[in-house]
Subunit: 198 residues, 2 copies
């Protein structure tokens, strides 16, 4: 029903997460309304991400260079490694401004249901890095796959470098959380991981 | 915080309607995860819309050619003209499968608050077309600007071609509408425009 060029763009937008027919139409029509320079920049931005963006050789984070801006930042403590599922998690953590160590991005989680095995993840280089580390903070999600991956890494790190401290991020009630709205797992963890008040 | 290429793409996505920081990040990361061919097609689709897509010389609808697929379709009755604000409205109407006439896309509505005047709209060519028409159906939205525009066109068409029938789409309760949820304007119209039951 749409002109072919617009139809193709609608289909392209549908590859984005959570974008259905209606939204894709809206986006494509917005592109058709853009001034030519903005549309040109948009098209080029996709092209550049495709051509330039890669994974940091050291930590697996997204980067335009061989090594990411965190791994090349000498003010950060490279002996503390915060292990996450994806580059999104690095950004989320960086936004807190609370963390001054390094990261390691697994680029996935072990998932028996999706058939994702440890060898599909960026784990070998973590073991390499762990040897010189002080602390490895396992910060995968507190979902089933996240817990499985954390458990697996905990065991593996214990074998490869038993002298390195391995910790897991706290699992409890979120800020502003209501007890009577929290699920059982969250409450159970909030209880078992309770800490002494100073 | 993101690599520069990704940051630029996030900014590009923010030009889309209703896309905030979080959604733009999600989309840009999805592009970084796409296989290279899909990303290439996406970039190219934007490029093609920019280069090829234009407004139909006759009706103002979006088209890859000088004349759109509806204006060049000889099975349609070109003497009935359905006047709408934008190409989106053409698609919405086409999806009903109920209409076999032609369209005229104004590409906007008269709006005193936004400073959009009749001369900013695709009206001259409508007057030209109206001379050979049987019926002009004014199908702008039932919003303030839509009503203003319909009223203006009604008056103008009455002067330019007084012999042509000018109608306005029905304004009343939508399908599945609940009386006690309808606003006053809708209810007032539903009453004043009531029709005799057969």
């Amino acid at each position: 029903m749409y002109p072919q060029s617009l139809q193709k763009l609608i289909e392209a937008f549908r590859h984005l997460p959570g974008v259905g027919e209606k939204t894709a139409e809206r986006y494509a029509l917005a592109v058709s309304d853009m001034n030519p320079e903005t549309a040109q920049e948009f098209s080029q931005a996709i092209q550049e991400v495709r051509e330039k963006l890669t994974h940091c050789r050291i930590c697996g984070n997204l980067s335009d260079n061989e090594e990411c801006s965190i791994c090349t930042d000498n003010s950060r403590n490279k002996r503390v490694i915060f292990v996450v599922q994806s580059a999104k998690d690095v950004i989320a953590m960086e936004k807190t401004g609370e963390y001054k160590g390094a990261y390691h991005v697994l680029n996935g989680l072990i998932s028996t249901s999706k058939g994702i095995m440890p060898e599909d993840l960026n784990i070998d280089s973590l073991l390499e890095r762990a040897k010189d580390a002080e602390e490895i903070i396992l910060a995968t999600n507190t979902t089933m796959d996240g817990e499985t991956t954390a458990m697996y890494l905990h065991k593996l790190l214990g074998e490869v470098c038993p002298e390195v401290l391995v910790t897991r991020i706290a699992h409890g009630l979120p800020s502003g959380g209501l007890l009577d709205y929290a699920d059982e797992m969250t409450l159970a963890h909030a209880l078992s991981d309770r800490r002494r008040m100073r």
